[in-house]
């Protein structure tokens, strides 16, 4: 007799072969927020109607985005012979022509396409193979393995590509302790900012015998320039759902919450659909896959507040309160959500878990560096040629990422400054570009992988102006609970304002440092404790430029060369 999971796999295999092995071609339009923002919806509709009007035999799907955002909207066509051709920056008006030429005539538009994969390599002209493009070749896709390939809302497509085998394996072949050990051995460190070993965190919660325990997933992701958490949930929600269920089993928890910031509409919808589908498939709820493990999951939202991403503020928010951080101890493993034992991890952290369980800790450990195994999912934006989301192995240098993956500076002459890891982390200058992407190397350089966002600025960016923008963000987002952060950010902003307006006094730098140090030592949560980071790192790499502001030699221009970045500030009248 077959197990419930084998049944599910059989259905999935059938579905996948219908899509990829039948007589029909498969047209995949990359969706997600990035695709849709670029017009993927219209492109999708255009392909559907073109297929209908030309009468060709093809399925049209909106699938996940590939992460190559500079190419969006993007469409690929898989022919029954197995050849797959990729078109970038597709316009809805071109749909008809592509369908007619490529599908009806069997002649891919090689001058419009940018790459191919599969097949026998015939009929694709001089197109490069997708995997040979540096921004693809340099990636090691684990959490983003299905990007561009599957429909995020189709559980069967996920299963067909190996999905939920890890869960099945965990539930049927492994004890919770073995999973915790496996995650520990994999050296998986939290991707939410603090880089705390996930397995160790789980082992705090696991022994508690409390009847109700929670595992939470943090997708607040309010950092400007970061979109990988949202990206994963939009483009492959089941990898997170599976990771969170395994997390629940490993810690013998009863409930999971996926916390998503209000306003992240697509991820919210995607997570809800995935959870519903998982319930329907018997992957959530009572007696999952026929085992005696039961686990519930839901999506929880709050108002948009950056600090709601801090783990205890997030718990307050789920409880329906003002999202302000709690003091610790007690730590969440002792008293978290609703005062029950709780674990919390970032989306990325949890999304690695299925592959770790499926392939083993040794496999994961073999990727990345000694102290940071696995990959970094970086989001490139700003003055960079190929903005996008790329999963690269830890240990790659920043320069490689910028130049090989990102294609170097887009406008202007050179990359001057990076804002890496979100507004609570550092600014990096050229001196630091040879730093390895690895938690420890990055922090030694004065920055952090943080949220994974890297905002690139060219030589026109004024560092003081950029700092002002970051501090303005931090000031606006301070929850206002503790005095050093509430008041310190306001003062730092005032001083930076003065510097930007050429009104700074020479003593202002020392004042800035004094306020920043008090925030660091005195604040209740990371928001205040880290709030001086951008300035501290900027002093390291751009000290002269900052000091020149004090001397009244303010350089013209603003962030990204087009004037002061307008960010809201909530400052005193």
């Amino acid at each position: 007799m077959s197990t419930p999971f084998e049944d599910l796999q059989a259905r999935a295999a059938k579905r996948w072969s219908e899509l990829t092995e039948g007589e029909s071609a498969w047209i995949r339009v990359g969706g997600g927020t990035s695709g849709q923002a670029a017009g993927a919806d219209a492109v999708f509709e255009a392909f559907k109607s073109s297929v209908e009007s030309t009468g060709v035999n093809a399925n049209v799907s909106m699938v996940s985005a590939m992460g190559l955002m500079y190419l969006e909207p993007q469409v690929d066509i898989l022919m029954p012979n197995g050849a797959r051709v990729y078109y970038g920056n597709v316009n809805a008006d071109e749909a008809k022509e592509i369908v007619e030429q490529h599908l009806k005539e069997g002649k891919p538009l090689t001058d419009r396409a940018y790459a191919y994969s599969g097949g026998d390599g015939s009929g694709v002209g001089n197109l490069p193979e997708l995997d040979s493009m540096p921004m693809v070749a340099l990636q090691k896709r684990i959490a983003t393995r299905n990007f561009g390939d599957t429909d995020p809302h189709d559980l069967l497509q996920y299963v067909a590509n190996g999905g939920y085998t890890a869960l099945n394996r965990a539930l049927t072949e492994m004890t919770p302790e073995e999973i915790v050990d496996e995650v520990k051995a994999a050296g998986l460190r939290g991707r939410g900012g603090a880089a705390f070993p996930a397995g160790v965190k789980w082992s705090f919660l696991a022994p508690s015998k409390a009847p109700v325990k929670y595992v939470l997933c943090n997708c607040e992701e309010g950092d400007p320039g970061a979109f990988n958490d949202k990206g994963i949930i939009e483009n492959d929600p089941h990898t997170l759902v599976e990771g969170l269920i395994i997390n629940g089993y490993a810690t013998r928890s009863t409930h999971g919450y996926v916390f998503i910031r209000t306003g992240h509409e697509l991820p919210i919808e995607s997570a809800r659909k995935a959870i519903a589908a998982a319930y329907e498939a018997g992957l959530l709820g009572k007696n999952i896959l026929g085992t005696d493990f039961s686990f519930d999951m839901e999506v929880s939202l709050t108002g948009d507040s950056y600090v709601a991403g801090e783990e205890t503020a997030l718990m307050e928010a789920i409880e329906g309160k003002r999202s302000t951080p709690r003091f610790k101890p007690p730590f969440p493993a002792a008293a978290g959500l609703w005062q029950k034992p709780t674990n919390i991890n970032n989306v990325k952290t949890l999304s690695y878990v299925p592959e770790i369980v499926r392939n083993g800790s040794d496999w994961f450990k073999s990727i990345g560096t000694e102290t940071t195994s696995g990959t970094a999912i970086v989001c490139l934006s700003g003055h960079i040629t190929y903005p996008g989301m790329y999963e690269v192995p830890m240990g790659m240098t920043i320069r490689e990422v910028l130049e090989k993956v990102g294609g170097g500076v887009s406008v202007g002459e050179r990359i001057k400054v990076l804002q890496a890891g979100g507004p609570l982390n550092g600014l990096l200058g050229e001196d630091a570009f040879d730093t390895m992407i690895d938690f420890d190397a990055m922090s030694a350089a004065g920055a952090s992988i943080g949220s994974g966002g890297i905002i690139v600025g060219n030589e026109t960016v004024n560092v003081v102006d950029l700092l002002r923008s970051l501090v303005a963000f931090n000031q606006f987002e301070s929850c206002g609970k503790c005095f050093p952060c509430r008041l310190g950010n306001t003062h730092m902003l005032e001083i930076l304002d003065r510097m930007c307006q050429n009104k700074a006094k020479s003593a202002d730098l020392a004042l800035l440092e004094r306020v920043g140090t008090s925030m660091k030592a005195g604040s209740l949560c990371g928001h205040g404790q880290l709030g001086f980071n951008p300035i501290a790192s900027a002093l390291k790499y751009f000290g002269d430029e900052i000091k020149s502001c004090l001397a009244g030699e303010i350089a013209p221009g603003g962030v990204f060369g087009d004037g002061t970045m307008i960010l809201p500030t909530r400052t005193r009248p």
Binding site: K481, F483, V515
Partner: protein
């Protein structure tokens, strides 16, 4: 301390009690660590970071907030390193950028007066010398303790917000607020009112009411807890706002039987300029209420009676004590005992009550003695007859751990306010609350089950609950088996309480009675709060009987957080009973005295009138009754409708001018302490009565001090034996000594009584319309308009009158008609739009907001306003259409 944590603070060995934080352990040892957001008895918050210390443990050093961090064993805590002090100073310096601080950081701060020329050019409005909290500012102490520099390079911004001084009793000046959120937290986590909230976030985070509404609509109960905890001049009592106190005296509030321990702040002229709840108070745990916090001021009133007066030729003239006593001797003397009456003050001390009782018995030889708020009431007398004490069986703060609560015919949030605080806490923490009351009160809004029976059928309903408990075998079988006397008789009698009949006769669905029964019986510890509002004496007795039976079968007597709490009114009613100031054999109680005066049977009386008002809900006929007397002596602090017909008026000392004792509802004997000697010829109650007794030839009235009287009390009153002033100094003691919970002795028996269905059913009234007015702190589901015609805010809200459709039909009224509720004597009690949602035929309701009452009390032009607080009394009424010219929705009075 067996399971404490041993660690070091600045090299000193310290043992923290379990659950204590570093700061709390330090405070216990008198080690000073600055703090601004922490407040004793509240949860730590971790906001201000003024309490940062360095901790070294397990080889790691870190800076932590001492208010939130428990000590690790063997940790070394440093409070005074350069680094720690520097950090604190920097944090406090940041705070100074939004708080006026020119004075705070000036070395002349202790020298300057408000009118002095400022040498630092501090704007007048920014000077500490003009701040109401100048002399008692925690922020100032902290700033000075951390030794802030004279000048700060940080920009200072004044918030420039308007001051809120348009709500009753206290002012809010958020220009001075440091956003420590103590006020918000005390309101939420201690008072459960959530009238205040944090507003906005980041650099402009502040506190206030939600959306900046008036306190009248925010759900504020004007308890002043926020004012007491505010470390700055942001929240201040409006009266005596700038008065500087020179001493603090621990005393007791004399407005209700909770007996909150208060700290009286006294200025250098002996005036009480502030009252704040004593954090150490056993009865109140640091809490107080509107009347306690703000109603103390009458003692300072310039219209206080300063010397005796005697009536001659129809007018009262000044007299000496001797003249007055001479007059009294002839006025009261030579009369038969039936003609005489003694009315004691509900605030009167045990000493006053004792001496008055002794005087009535041995000198006047009359049995007509009672406290003005009826010390002999049915509720307490029946409780005493059944349980041996007309008082609470358990301590008040036991209620915070109760798992279920049953409140019957009482409104503790208004009448015994601080007793409701632990009850509300229990509910917040998950206890289930069952309220049996026809009126909508604050507690009905928290109730899991609100049973709104036909007025008068409360006892029947309680018996019905007991019946369900037996039916469903939910009783505490062990307790019933081993501790009850006559359990079988009770059970037999309850079998006659058919639930369908109970449901019909109370007007409550049987399903709801069952739910209430399960809540009470299935919880670990259930307490019963028992009032007598709207009940006849007979009904009150039956309610007591039924309640004791219920408590007994559920095993809730002799158990922590169970028990019975009577909700009566007079602050020292229990003391009056203990001291024998209750009617003797064939004696008259207060109601009978009033009717006796009216009928001419009672001809002469002594009234101790402190806290007695003809405008109080139960004494409205007193002034008219007194008018009929041949001879009336009144001892009073203030002139009033009671003194108007007196032949002799004697000046009374107030609570602030005496050392004496009072006994609260939980049997706690507590000391009133003198803040200043009477300035003129005022005498305390017992001194007054003793002087009269001596003048009339009585013996045994030669007491030198209150303590002497108390010594005699300890000899004469068995429950007080072993007590003396010395033992009472530290916070009061419950009688009988060492029995905080009655019936906790496993060998003691509780006698239950059989209940008679017909007797219980007959106490329900029928035929007439009963008006049961309600009052709540807020009704978020209804709009409130606040009007500000001049300086003050007023609630201006559409009123609704709840009527049963059947009654409306008989009165010929339609839903939506503007109607008025009228008493037999034509007094209009309520006016508003008729809504047909009264649950019972015969029951008329209307709910007002506490804010309306607060404004009224605040505006009342009477020095001693607390006795005039209108309760939620029931009346027999008729309904009629409001005359067209009446403006719909206007509040009736």
């Amino acid at each position: 301390m067996a399971d404490g944590t041993t660690f070091k603070i600045d090299g000193r060995d310290v043992v923290a009690k379990p659950g204590q934080t570093i700061l709390q352990a330090a405070m216990d040892q008198d080690i000073y660590i600055p703090y601004l957001c922490y407040y004793p008895k509240m949860k730590p918050q971790g906001s201000c970071r003024a309490c940062m210390v360095e901790v070294e443990a397990n080889g790691r050093k870190m800076m932590v907030a001492s208010c939130t961090t428990p000590p690790m064993p063997e940790a070394e805590v440093t409070t005074n390193s350069e680094e720690v002090e520097g950090l604190r100073r920097n944090v406090v310096e940041l705070l100074m950028s939004e708080h006026p601080h020119g004075c705070l950081t000036c070395h002349r701060i202790e020298l300057c007066g408000p009118q002095d020329i400022c040498q630092r050019h501090v704007t007048v409005t920014d000077r500490c010398t003009i701040c109401p909290k100048n002399e008692r500012c925690e922020l100032k102490d902290t700033v000075r303790a951390v030794e802030l520099d004279l000048r700060t390079p940080l920009n200072y911004h004044r918030r420039d917000l308007p001051i809120h001084s348009d709500d009753p009793f206290y002012d809010r000046d958020y220009n001075l607020c440091i956003v420590c959120s103590r006020c918000v937290r005390v309101c939420d986590e201690v008072r459960f009112d959530t009238a205040l909230t944090l507003t906005s976030r980041s650099g402009v985070a502040l506190v206030g009411t939600s959306h900046g509404t008036s306190l009248l609509e925010s759900g504020c109960e004007f308890c002043g807890a926020c004012v007491d905890v505010c470390p700055t001049g942001s929240l201040t009592e409006r009266n005596y706002k700038w008065e500087k106190a020179v001493s603090e005296v621990a005393t007791v509030c004399t407005n209700c039987p909770v007996g909150c321990q208060m700290i009286a702040e006294v200025n250098k002229f002996g005036k009480v300029v502030r009252f704040k709840a004593d954090l150490a108070g056993a009865a109140n745990n640091g809490q107080a209420c509107m009347t306690g916090k703000f109603g103390y001021e009458y003692t300072n009133d310039s219209s206080r009676l300063k010397r005796p007066y005697v009536r001659e030729g129809g007018i009262l003239r000044k007299a000496t004590w001797d003249e007055a006593l001479e007059k009294i001797k002839s006025g009261l003397g030579g009369r038969s005992s039936e003609e005489l009456a003694v009315i004691t003050s509900p605030r009167g001390s045990n000493e006053d009550q004792y001496v008055a009782a002794k005087f009535a018995k041995s000198v006047l030889k009359t049995a007509n003695i009672d406290s003005a708020l009826n010390a002999d009431n049915a509720l307490l007398s029946r409780l005493e007859a059944r349980l041996g004490a007309g008082a609470a069986t358990n301590p008040i703060w036991d209620l915070e751990n109760s798992k279920s609560l049953l409140v019957v015919a009482g409104n503790p949030t208004e009448e015994q306010n601080v007793l409701a605080v632990p009850a509300k806490k229990a509910v917040r923490e998950g206890a289930k609350l069952v309220v049996i009351d026809s009126r909508e009160t604050e507690l009905t809004r928290y109730a899991t089950e609100w049973l709104r029976p036909k007025p008068g059928s409360e006892a029947l309903l309680i018996a019905g609950i007991s019946r369900v408990i037996l039916d469903e075998a939910l009783e505490d079988k062990e307790f019933v088996g081993s501790r009850l006397d006559q359990a079988e008789e009770l059970k037999q009698s309850l079998w006659t309480f058919d639930l369908a009949k109970v449901s019909r006769d109370t007007g409550i669905e049987d399903a709801q009675i069952r739910r209430a029964a399960r809540i009470f019986a299935e919880s670990d510890a259930g307490a019963i709060l028992l009032g007598d509002d709207g009940l006849t004496d007979k009904a009150a007795e039956l309610v007591v009987d039924a309640s004791i039976d219920l408590a007994a079968i559920t095993g809730n007597l002799g158990k922590a957080s169970g028990g019975i709490f009577p909700l009566y009114r007079g602050a020292n009613t229990l003391g009056a009973r203990d001291m024998g100031a209750t009617p003797g054999e064939n004696g008259r109680d207060i109601a009978e005295m009033m009717s006796g005066m009216t009928s001419g049977d009672v001809k002469a009386a002594l009234v101790m009138a402190d806290g007695v008002s003809g405008y109080s809900p139960t004494l409205s006929s007193l002034p008219a009754a007194l008018e009929n007397l041949d001879f009336l002596v009144v001892s009073a602090a203030l002139d009033s409708e009671i003194t108007h017909h007196a032949n002799v008026v004697l000046p009374a000392a107030t609570y602030a001018e005496q050392n004496s004792s009072l006994t609260n509802v939980e049997r706690r004997v507590q000391l009133l302490r003198i803040t200043a000697e009477p300035k003129h010829e005022e005498k305390t109650g017992w001194e007054t009565v003793a002087a009269i007794a001596n003048a009339m030839g009585g013996t045994g009235f030669d007491y030198a001090t209150a303590s002497d009287v108390f010594t005699e009390i300890a000899q004469e009153v068995s429950n007080y034996s072993g007590l003396n002033y010395e033992r009472l100094q530290s916070g009061g003691i419950q009688w009988p000594v060492d029995s905080s919970i009655l019936f906790s002795d496993e060998a003691s028996k509780v006698t239950v009584v059989a209940l008679n269905y017909d007797e219980l059913a007959n106490s329900a009234e029928s035929g007439s319309l009963t008006f049961a007015p309600g009052r709540v702190l807020s009704q978020p589901e209804r709009d409130v308009v606040v009007r500000k015609p001049a300086d003050m805010n007023y609630v201006d809200r559409e009123q609704f009158v709840q009527v049963h459709p059947d009654d409306a039909k008989s009165a010929g009224l339609n839903e939506g008609d503007v109607i008025q509720v009228k008493t037999d004597d034509g007094h209009i009690l309520a006016r508003g739009k008729a809504v047909f949602d009264s649950p019972q035929v015969g029951l008329v309701g209307a709910t007002t907001l506490f804010g309306e009452l607060a404004t009224k009390m605040h505006e009342l032009d009477v020095a001693d306003w607390t006795p005039q607080m209108p309760g939620l009394g029931y009346s027999t009424v008729t309904l009629e259409s409001a005359p067209v010219e009446q403006e719909a929705g206007a509040a009736a009075d």
